[in-house]
């Protein structure tokens, strides 16, 4: 039993962590939380199944194609739901615009793809059993993204530019950084991370449109608990959530597991609204 908890827990936890990172990348670029994070994650699984299973493309074509699709959807998200809203005084509108777009993605997938789970292709032939690749692929993906982001932010010019825009928007613009292009690139990056999450986790979660809202919520928990903008917090939170959820599944059964997760989430949030890693308080007056 323990092996099952750990293997499933780490795998889904890694997927949640990746979605959490998606939220973070979008947030640092625009100070906006987007409801599309989980939806694009779901698309990773659906598009993977579409390209590889339905259209018969080989994995080394289907995977980059899926990543590209993720980037495109990320950019579209930025253009139609974030950019217009940032210009207006009413900051809260972003919740509505991203929610609307997320719903459109979800419904479109439900109608055009299917409302039932569809099979996801087996990517590498290692396993079955505990070392089955369906378990360590998501974890590998998560690790790769973390390392990649570290390298990006610390060692590349673009990464520095991303950080500058996030730290101090006005100063960065005053320095001549192209804020709009950088934001679009951030969103493209976020889109790719999200589809990677869905693709890597596809064998466990299957290609199912209902994964969208589920990933939205469970991918948000690590961000809320770990502190917004903190990728390390998201990873720790995601893995912890995955393990906790599987343990609760074993101990209490499916229904009570989700109740347990939610109750813990609410309690921690109410105790520390800025997350366990804390965050900067904005000057209001």
């Amino acid at each position: 039993m323990l092996e099952s908890i750990i293997s499933y827990g780490l795998a889904v936890g890694a997927v949640y962590a990746l979605i959490g990172i998606t939220y973070n990348v979008m947030f640092t670029a625009s100070r906006v939380f987007s409801f599309t994070a989980g939806m694009v994650g779901m698309l990773g699984g659906v598009l993977g199944a579409l390209f590889i299973n339905r259209l018969g493309l080989p994995v080394w074509v289907g995977f980059p194609l899926t990543l590209a699709a993720g980037a495109v959807i990320g950019v579209i998200t930025e253009i139609i739901t974030v950019r217009p809203v940032l210009k207006s005084i009413e900051q809260h509108l972003y919740v509505l615009s991203t929610l609307a777009f997320a719903l459109m993605i979800q419904q479109f997938t439900a109608i055009e793809w299917s409302t039932e789970s569809q099979p996801f292709p087996r990517l590498i032939d290692i396993g079955p059993g505990l070392l089955d690749q369906q378990f360590w692929l998501p974890v590998l993906a998560c690790g790769a993204v973390i390392v990649g982001l570290e390298l990006l932010y610390r060692h590349t010019l673009i990464g520095h530019a991303f950080l500058a825009i996030a730290e101090d928007n006005y100063a960065a613009r005053a320095l001549g950084l192209p804020e709009q292009s950088l934001r679009m690139m951030s969103y493209a990056l976020a889109g790719m991370i999200a589809v990677l999450a869905g693709f890597a986790g596809g064998e466990i979660l299957l290609a199912f449109f209902g994964n969208g809202p589920m990933l939205n919520f469970y991918g948000f928990v690590p961000v809320a608990l770990g502190g917004m903008g903190s990728n390390r917090g998201a990873v720790v939170g995601g893995i912890a959530l995955g393990l906790f959820q599987q343990a609760a599944n074993f101990l209490f059964g499916g229904i009570f597991a989700s109740v347990a997760v939610f109750v813990v989430f609410i309690i921690v949030l109410l105790a520390r609204p800025e997350g366990l890693a804390g965050a900067v308080a904005v000057r209001r007056v």
Binding site: H92, L96, Q107, A224, I255, S258, L269, P273, V285
Partner: protein, 601 residues
Amino acid sequence: MDATTRPLARARPLAPRWLGRMEALWPFLLLGMAGLCLPLLDDSYLGVIATRACIYWVLVSALNLVVGFAGQIAIGWVALLTLGAYVTSVLTAGTAIPALPPYLALAIAAVSGAIFGVIVGLPALRLRTFYFAMTTLGFATIVTQVALAWRGVTGGGIGVPGPVFPEPFDSRWGFYYFCFGIAAVCTWMTANIAASRFGRALVAIRDAEVAAEAAGISKPSLLMIVFLFSGAVAAVAGGLFASLQTYITPDAFTFDLSVLFFIAILIGGRGSILGPLLGTILLTVLPEFAAPLVAWSTFLYAALLLVIVLAMPGGIAEMLDFRNRRPLEQHREIAPRTDVLPRVLARSGERAALTLQGISLSFGGVRAVDTLDLTIHPGEVHGLIGPNGSGKTTTLNVISGYYAPQSGQVLLGAEALPQRAPQRRAGHRIARTFQTPRLIGGASVLENVMIGGTIAGRGSFVESLLSLPRHRRDEAALNEAAMLALTTVGLEQLASVRADRLQHSELRFMEIARALMLSPTFLLLDEPAAGLSAEEIRRLGALIVAISRQGTGVLLVEHHADLIFDICDRITVLNLGKVLAAGTPAEVRSHREVVNAYLGA
């Protein structure tokens, strides 16, 4: 034209008041007539759809206060529909306790909805918008899961029969009238709240939270009342829903439904009653007319929401707001009427001073304010000047309670004012304006000003809900006081205009009018002259002097040296958080260090 010879503007328009009311009421009356006459068409199918629309509107009307007015993104409110449906059904079916009569079951459902509404709403006080939205979604899932799991009581996946209401509401059309009646009552009640100080306070919390606090509005208690009411009404809607379905299972309470309620409000327009009403009817009826589009209905709602958010955030209500499309006069003058001031600032004489003792405040490593001593006497204008970053606004924020100093205290007379409690300043008659005007763009200028006097109202929420006499007296008094305040600052011509159509300078005067609603003993002004023309600054100065002559102590934070030296009785100069000089204008003007650091030769 001499400002003082113009007659006082009247609060009432030229036409009799009831005609103005009719203008707002006719859409409701029309809908009401259509609804009452519906059975004449003898179409049972239309009856089912209309009943459903009424039930959904019952829930949406109350949710409107939470989402449309208070601006809380409660997407998962279907949780309360589920709760109400199950409580009513379980109590009438007798699966948990011996069966109860339906009306009693409905009442108990309302109580449970009120309690649960508060529970779901509680996180709103601590969490940011997006976080709160997520928690409501979580609650919606939880309620459905509990309904599934608690098989002995709820029947689990098999479900439970819905309640049947006794005669005359057991027939198709009888039940329709029942739901229609409840919907009409809910429309009336929420419209009453919208036109009350509670409704305006909710909108203030949504759009100008900082100004709301300054006006004394307590966000927690107001939100809790609204969540309580909204939860109770949503649960009642749930009971009616269960009756319409005749049998409920957990899979009837879909996420799509929750989204529908939410989108109906947004499409209808926040802060409006008619808009969400039309939105609900539209979204309930639309899928029935376009059978092939049924599968796409949620997609289309979402697309519609996106279009509305991007193109017309005001929704249907904004589309129907013809009055605010009429062009405004181009060259408007702001002509304050200081002769009206005694009526605005009438109060008994108090001579307590507002004193800051040894205030120190640092942000991280930066010392914003360093051992500051300052005294504002009643009846005097006290100027606070200094270069940018010298701590002027920070000082003002400390006085008004938004920041807590790390050492020192703020005293009113001998009493220390509570720290970090900006909403309690209003009770002490300390009012303020803001560096950037805080306004509710979608509300009229009059309504914006009335918010300043929220705490003067005596009537409770329930009295407003039912439009009882004390509520109406409150409204009349607030209306009159606000018109007086507007006349004082010279904006009475613009009373019914949407605030976001005003010029910047007019907004500054509007903020002063709002502050005057408290009959303040101390008035704190944060750079009120910024962006004003020379003539407007002169009139502003005259207004401030007149206010102080009525006995109010004014703290004027400003950059315009001329204004400061013209009207201030005392001046304090700050530099890098420390007092550089303090005294009369003449003393300060000749103070060497001040000249060097700030004024120039």
